[in-house]
Symmetry: D2
Subunit: 343 residues, 4 copies
């Protein structure tokens, strides 16, 4: 048995742990693995390279993906790209593991349902916003990075009596901001799921100052929004680079706080720092378990499936249109976080 | 309402997050909190100090417990200590939160069942071996520390073609060793739940060397045991200090490996490093949620209860004799880990 | 003997180590210490609080300054503020230790030379750009933070074949960018001391791609400048918050690289992350040594002095106008760094 | 020009930075490099492998040595090994860079002086105890690891009112213990250069308890010794593994403290943790500068030389018998450290 592996979408700590688990398992069962570089683009172009178990020794501790990733979607230019992709997949081997987010998995679903390609999917996103699974690997690493960053910023905020606004990832869901906000005892947390209540935020920060605490921490999801866009006056133009969002929501919130309270306020945009570096222990365990479960499905030739985390167990799920569904922040968590600032 | 807080048993990252959550919530509901230093000993001796919300600002990031802890059990000298404890508890206020492991919670259960003391319990152990709850805070921090340590040791092991044996905490259960072993792609994992199969361990290490990998990592729970004590020949005498276990199981395993393979082998005992320092994001979130839930029970005067994690939710459980039950490692995890070395 | 301590200017890891050293030494010699909050502003307003050795236990590991800091300059409104400051200084005690950068130390020099105030100065700046001393504490912590951040960014850059531009602190001098650039094997380093040679930067990045390396790291000092401002087209407007420099030089460089090479490029601005959190071992040692030496000068009543690092030794220097002199990057270091990209 | 590189003795963070610097420089000057695995053993056995610049991309952040190391000394079995070594060296190329400690460099010196082998040496030791250079790379990383470990242990020590004894590396010199002791505000520091004064240590710990500080930190170099071996009663037998020193000096000191004060005392032996993992920024810079300077000497064919750090500059030194000289701890540092516990 020959298994092809590809990683699509943004990189995420834990991808290499998945790759290692699959390669080691498949090879120990007598099969072999090849890596397809750069996601679906690699498969369209017929790129591949052997993946040997000895090569995967030690990669569990490395961020990123040794395969490289891309956001190429073969259905964008379907007439040109899909036939090429299918031909290369046939040449390549007996099964394909696609590790990716909603886009990558949606392509996998279409390839499976339209052409019965022998695919097993593994969900991945740093944002934890996939409906199909309870938690995604990469998320725990991200909240640890944000937490450590905010711990650092706390001492400088305190020394200078500043409000520190920290913008985290999370375009569509507030998971990272909410969990990191709880973990850092943030004074306020802004998420896409709850429109920004600027008067309340200001009131909370002023009350804190009255209570003798001369500094504050506000965590903002990059996807948080003012209810009325009119008061989002700073830097409306699009960001040419994506990650450093010029005049993004963090900067706008910081600007508004400083203007309305007179407190010295600074914004830090964590950006790409949140997705790099060694995965946390917990993410490595989850990624490894998913890789093992996917290997098992491949060995059993149970294609058109997905491996997901459900109530602590790794289970099989169908590779269907549900892979595209977004899971916004469970507001139970936000209510827990808000218990500290709502009164 | 006046609430007393105490922390018992070994310290654990996340204790201060619990304390912070309770103090902030109780005070924002109009109540007040006092801290009882050094666990049950403090209550027996009538020690206490006010806990102000402003004092708990920022402690979420600190390891240990600002209250101090002890292993004192008031029922050891019950005639002398229990009446004193009860009198002080009455003076102290309206409710007590006891944060601790099986010992601390067993005392809490007896005080509640015998004397109807108004107690709410919060389970805590770095070893994750309490039956009443799915996961305990402190555990995630511990496995991250072990993982980071093994990542460090990997480069030195590789440079010197050594086998590195790393002894982790876990006297009664292999949770830390198993999770950290998965997270570090250890070549073998030894836990109390599975007797040491020395011939198999040796075979795995030799096979790895034949495969061209000249170094290896073995993770050993401090509670792992040889099936036949006769081959545990090294350093039988008791350790006078507890943590640095002279000739502990890690050293014995390292000794046996070196003797039976000729591979240069070293042992590192991580000991107390595993319980200190800033809690991980995940542990801070869990501890905060438990603190919030406990505050809620106190406000509702639902005493004789425990707050626990069950399938991702914080729920109420009875404070009964089940608090003493040990949860050994779920062997599903060990089987997943062993998929890489069993064949 | 009663000694007043104040910290001025931006905060810097190591300030608490200085404070601890002085308090412990002065008290063990039979003296006492008071802390003056918020730099010169605190002294103008007559604020102070006792500093007890027991309070300084453990602060060596904490970033920021327990005294708080400000950028208030008493000579700005000299007629109003200087007499107030002098009166409070007299009330306060026998000696003053001023820990700060060029501004804080210039004030100290003027107060000493004009009014013979009994002052000892300690130089401090995260940027390492003070002429009076070889290295300043805070610098080593800053370069470690940048290095760890770039290590993280490397895996994500590699996975996505991106150029990653990292903007560091260093408005007037390229110390941080140069040292962190060497430490991270950056592909190019831009510093204020050397005008940006955009054609050469582009050539280096293209050559690297031809050599099969599909990603790159560029480190940019916030003070780096294009020789011709005309090509600095992005975001000319001033940044309302200071630290997150909207359309700062990092973003401009990233923009230019992407435009001229077609390589996907991202910018990360590290900002305040570089000054917070636990000091490195080396910074704690340097700060402690400076604190001890300053205590010694105070005990000997050698006022109008400064303690500095010179060829590995802590020596006494005069508190004179030289404290304002900037030390730009020693180009020997830049040449060493450039050995990897210049040919 | 073809240059062979080898690393000897114990591994040390920064070795890969040296290798990278040399490979990149030599290749950019038109030469080529080969790596000799496992120190002198590799050269005796004629092992070698090409070292390509592309392979050295990113290794600057990795601990250990990609070449592997050994403690083999060709002069031990000189008649057999030296001719083999010389023959292989001739085959190999035009120059040899030997990176190592006193043993490795002594061999290099003998090979150069006896046979005029074209060698350049680079000093390396984590212990910082080489007379020929001011500071060695690896040392800064080691003290940062010890410092971070002690920061962790502080919270657990405080929670349990314990004395924590931390044993560091340093068999012949107290550099690591002294610097880490200053950086962690240790209550006492024991080094090989100063015989242990147990009564004074006990007095300091008791005084601290009287001052209301219920815990303590003692840092002990593995080479520290009691003046009278008779009171070293614990575990006299030799350690079969070397690094985890069963009943080493740390344990003996902990035992003595507990016995003489009644304070609960624990010992943690950091062992191999101190030499693994990513090098600090400062060590990477130093190692890179040494690698560049060595490349320069090779290009100029200035053999029989050594590159060393002297007053902040990298300079050339002769490869002579001085490479074997030990540099014990400069007692100026110890006196500074002791200012906090001597009175």
């Amino acid at each position: 048995m020959k298994v092809g592996l590809l990683t699509g979408g943004g990189d995420c700590p834990g991808l290499n742990a998945v790759i290692r688990a699959i390669v080691q398992r498949i090879v120990s069962e007598g099969g072999s693995c090849v890596g397809i570089p750069e996601g679906w683009r690699g498969l369209i172009q017929g790129m591949s390279r052997p993946l040997d178990p000895s090569e995967t020794d030690g990669i569990i501790a490395r961020g990123g993906t040794i395969l490289g990733a891309s956001r190429t979607n073969p259905f964008k230019f379907a007439e040109r790209d899909v036939p090429a992709l299918r031909a290369h997949a046939r040449d390549l081997g007996h099964a394909l593991v696609a590790i990716g987010g909603d886009d990558t998995l949606s392509v996998a679903y279409r390839l499976y349902s339209m052409y019965q390609m022998p695919i097993v999917g593994i969900p991945k996103t740093i944002d934890n916003d996939l409906r199909v699974t309870d938690f995604t690997f990469g998320f725990d690493t991200a909240i640890n990075i944000v937490t450590e960053a905010v711990d650092r910023l706390r001492t400088t905020a305190e020394s200078h009596r500043r409000i520190m606004v920290v913008e985290t990832m999370g375009r569509h869901a507030g998971w990272i901001a909410c969990f990191a906000g709880i973990a850092t005892a943030a004074d306020y947390i802004l998420v896409p799921e709850v429109p920004i209540d600027m008067p309340h935020l200001i009131e909370v920060l002023k009350r804190r100052r009255r209570d003798g605490k001369n500094y504050g921490i506000v965590i903002v999801s990059e996807g948080a929004r003012f209810p009325d866009r009119d008061n989002f006056t700073l830097d409306e133009e699009p960001d040419p680079f994506g990650n450093v969002r010029l005049g993004g929501i963090g900067t706008a919130v910081a600007h508004a706080i400083e203007k309305q309270t007179g407190f010295e306020t600074r914004c830090v945009v964590l950006g790409h720092l949140q997705r790099g570096g060694p995965p946390s222990a917990c993410d490595r365990v989850l990624a490894t378990r998913l890789g093992l479960a996917a290997s098992h499905l491949i060995i059993q030739r149970r294609f058109g499936t997905l491996v997901v985390l459900s109530a602590g167990k790794i289970i099989e799920a169908p590779l269907d249109e549900s892979v595209a569904a977004t899971k916004t922040l469970d507001l139970t968590y936000y209510d827990e976080a808000a218990a500290f600032f709502r009164r």
